[in-house]
């Protein structure tokens, strides 16, 4: 089930909200866990059993690690838990990729084989909830958190529907207290609703139209693709993936607040970054934090000299790419980011930091946009060819007619809005108005107008999004693949 669907908006969410209100405080977690399991099973059917297995496994291992006295015993249990958590992820996500590549090697060496390459269904959100569970187990081992003794609360931590299938990757210690005792204030609910609607608008009104253009351009054959079209395609995709994913995170954070959870922010206007390093402090923050805390730092981080730091960064971003998808495209995308992060730690970084802000922004946007080509392309070959066309290699001389006729006022307005909203204009204006308003007596001018404008904006977003969804627009989330 996706948040931007009729069934979620006009059935699942209102029913869950009203039941949460009716059942009272004590059974609320049980209700929310049941709702989360239905949410997952609605789209994934019996794969919900795998999630129940993950809950049980991590609950038991958490308790066992907590009760084991010796360091060796704890280490052994941690290692076993990590392996058992990663096994399903490897099976569902990486088996076909591994077999394909083994088959290629065999073919290269002229070795006969009977490897079959039937596709394996990838349960939605498996990468997210596996990483979430791993963070719990490692934190218990590190004694950062106490083991969860209530299996229902443990289940809710892993299966909580707002962040279940596309993050943010919630760390146990961030919501441990809320699992035990959560409350929803009027302010929480209002800000949650507002955040949810903003996310819905981002997804339905910005990401989908940008995605439609990106899809059209990326589906062109190389002979049909001109350089301007290729650049337009990658700009549209950059906007699509940002609004798609940050929109989902907004909806997740908003829903969390409506149910009494406070998730950490996952995006902070990444496209205004001045370096790739800064980009990763602003993009998918929960994932970069996870890799930092559970991989980069254990590998030695930057404590073992520049050479080892560079290697650590490449390892982390190789795995970051691989986490996103089992294909050489994603590995290439990850390594591309890793490479520029390593560069920024050397002379290039020092030169960049002395450069004008405009140069820094342009550099970052160029690296990020070029890397997105690998993220979006179906194959590594397509990605490389597409990149070639962007720089004039085998580029068609004219814009493909079907693309040209879609470049109308609606498209440019949406794109301009997208570019604007990808920068922190809204919070700046909000902050400015709040400061002004605080100096005015209640009921006067701006004090009344500002909330009214906000309310109207929300109403408009709700109306436009609902209308759009009612027409049956196709709107899958990109990040459900991961």
């Amino acid at each position: 089930m996706v948040f931007s669907s009729i069934i979620f908006l006009f059935l699942f969410l209102p029913v869950t909200l009203v039941l949460e209100l009716i059942v009272g405080r004590r059974p609320r977690n049980t209700l929310l866990l049941a709702a989360s399991l239905i949410f997952y099973a609605w789209g994934e059917g019996l794969y919900v059993l795998m999630m129940l297995g993950s809950i049980t496994l991590n609950y038991l291992f958490g308790l066992l690690i907590g009760r084991t006295q010796t360091e060796e015993g704890q280490k052994a249990l941690l290692a076993l838990a990590v392996v058992l958590n990663l096994l399903p992820l490897f099976y569902f996500k990486y088996t076909v990729f591994a077999l394909e590549n083994v088959a290629k090697v065999f073919a290269f060496l002229h070795i006969d084989h009977t490897l079959t390459l039937d596709p394996i269904h990838l349960p939605i959100g498996i990468s997210f909830f596996t990483f979430q569970a791993l963070s719990y187990i490692v934190d218990v081992y590190r004694k950062t958190v106490a083991p969860q003794k209530n299996i229902l609360d443990m289940g809710l931590f892993i299966a909580l529907f707002p962040q279940l299938i596309a993050g943010p990757i919630v760390r146990y210690h961030d919501i441990a207290q809320q699992l035990k005792n959560r409350s929803v204030s009027v302010e929480d609910f209002a800000s949650g609703a507002e955040r949810f609607v903003h996310g819905l608008g981002k997804k339905v009104l910005l990401a989908n139209p940008m995605g439609a253009m990106a899809d059209q351009i990326f589906s062109l054959q190389i002979g049909e693709l001109s350089s301007p079209a290729a650049w337009l395609g990658v700009i549209c995709y950059s906007l699509q993936i940002y609004f798609d994913f940050s929109g989902y995170s907004d909806m997740a954070i908003g829903l969390g607040r409506m149910f009494g959870f406070h998730f950490l922010e996952n995006f902070n206007y990444p496209y205004i970054s001045r370096s790739i390093r800064e980009f990763w402090r602003r993009w998918h923050i929960s994932l970069s934090n996870w890799f930092r805390d559970y991989l980069y730092i254990p590998l030695g981080g930057n404590r073992k000299g520049p050479g080892r730091t560079g290697l650590n960064l490449l390892i982390v971003f190789f795995l970051c790419g691989f986490w996103h998808g089992a294909s050489w495209n994603f590995i290439c995308w990850g390594l591309c980011h890793g490479f520029f992060l390593v560069l920024e730690r050397g002379r290039t970084g020092r030169w960049l930091s002395r450069s004008p802000a405009l140069v820094q922004h342009l550099y970052t946007l160029l690296v990020v946009a070029n890397a997105w080509v690998f993220f979006r392309a179906e194959t590594l070959e397509q990605g490389l060819r597409y990149l070639g066309v962007m720089y004039g290699i085998h580029a068609a001389p004219v814009l493909y007619p079907l693309v040209a006729i879609n470049l109308d006022a609606e498209f440019f307005t949406t794109m301009a809005l997208g570019l604007l909203i990808a920068t922190p204009v809204y919070p700046v204006v909000e902050q400015y108005l709040r400061q002004k308003r605080d100096h005015l007596p209640a009921g006067q001018g701006l004090a009344v107008a500002a909330p009214l404008v906000k309310l109207c904006l929300m109403g408009l977003l709700l109306l436009l999004s609902s209308m759009n969804l009612a027409t049956g627009a196709y709107n899958p989330f990109i990040y459900f693949r991961f």
């Binding site: 669907s5 009729i6 069934i7 908006l9 006009f10 059935l11 969410l13 209102p14 029913v15 909200l17 099973a41 609605w42 789209g43 059917g45 019996l46 009027v186 302010e187 609910f189 209002a190 800000s191 609703a193 507002e194 949810f196 609607v197 007619p401 079907l402 040209a404 006729i405 470049l407 109308d408 006022a409 609606e410 209640a442 004090a447 909330p451 009214l452 906000k454 309310l455 929300m458 109403g459 709700l462 109306l463 436009l464 609902s466 209308m467 759009n468 009612a470 027409t471 049956g472």
Partner: protein, 552 residues
Amino acid sequence: MKRWGQFAIIALFLFTLYVPLVLSIIVKDKEISESEKRKLAKLPSLSWSVDSLSRFPDLFETYYNDHFGLREQLVEFYNYFYFKVVKKSPLPTVTVGRDEWLYYNGEGVLNDFLGLTKYSEEQLETWKRLLVDRQEWLAALGIRYLFVVAPYKMMIYPEYLPERVRRKAGIPILARLSDYVDGHAELDGYLDLRRDLLAAKARRQVYYRTDTHWNPDGAFDAYAVIMQQVRRWFPAAKILGEDSLEKSKESRRGDICITLNLNIIAPEETVKTVVAPSCSSESYTRLNLDIRPTREEARNPNFMPVQNGCGDASLSALVIHDSFGLFLRPYFNETFQKVVYSNYIDLKDLKGFIAASMPDLIIDVRVARHLTGMLEEDQELERYILDKHAANSTDVRLHLDTVHGKEHLGKTHQLDIQPRPDGLLLRASGSDPSLELNFDAETGGDPLLVRLSLDSPVDTELQMFYTTPESADFSAGHKIGKKIRRGKNELLFRLPHPRTAGRLRLDPGMVGGDYLLRSLVIARESRKKLGEVGMSFDAQYGIRQVHVANRD
């Protein structure tokens, strides 16, 4: 934010969430959506079986998407917003032009208008050859065949299209086919109505503004052009004059308007015509034919052909048509003594009926967006024609068997050739065996017929790659593939390119093993028509127990 503001946000949010839910509970489900022209999903049942449980979410979601509260209002408001504010169509299958001219661009129309429909010279030749085959087969029966293509609206009224669409106009596939057919004199009954309707539009409006179709005036102009062609064959054919039409005005919302579910578009004032005096029946007689159409959607008793006609007229006709043909019916009813209309069943499936009923004339009329669909291959007809032609094709260009044709042999790959008394043994050592052949392929545009007798060790695919004057290398774009079975195979086919060059590559199969090429003959296809070479049509051929009976 002040507290009242927070309450207002919560109220607005909850109102938006709960109103559709409450309405979906209290309002009775509708069965049909008139604007979408479809049945709405029904509430699925649920039982405790794994199959039922696993299918339920999708079925229920489909149901809920069709029935949630305010759905129709939201869709209507969305359409209104798009049409009035964004100035665009809310549906991808409709283009909104200037002055509220609406264009249907589904079924590949926009791609075609922009000249983006993929085609090859082989494709054009195959289409033309199909029409020639139909013409020849029917001529042997003494029946005339007229193939008519009605242009879609963008072709006749491009000036109302948005500028960004209009200036990207390309060459549609109909123009390419018409040019191709014009260059080959073999087709007698091919009518592309674009030029005539473009000329007619200078006098009056010939297509509806809010509908996909031509209007009664446009249909009458098309009728007049069609009948001029018919009169070349049948000089005594009756043709209605403009003076036999009674015209009145009507206010009408077109089919595109209805699809958009937009009542804000003003109905168009348009013309309505009635033939007066009329000598045809007021109602149509449905024929009860024992036909099982190839297309599944045509398998409905209500889709059987219907009949009408006028006692004062002389000819009989079968008109195979789509919705554009519906507008021609009032005029054809008065023109032919007996006219049968097949709106859903294609000529391919009507061969038996045709042989039994023997009309004077067959008119096959469809809009250009259905062009590729109406020219789907008819293996039965092709086999019949090729059998007859092969017997008369004496201009042999290549004959290869144990005795003949060694001089044609070229390079081989994974193939060893050994002569045997019953043919050439092709011993394939791998999965990509091939044999190159060289011959004189110049025929002045006549097709080349290939007759091949081959024993295969397994079920596989035989491929023949050919070269053209433009492409001297073998490529996947220039090949013909034929499924073959283990054991003996007799194949007869045309090389699809009209100007095949004299170099071929035969891949007998896609697996290793022993293939026996008993004989391979390539000959120039005889251009003599069936009647001229004295072939009598086998009346049993293709007839599937036809019973033609009027209901009355």
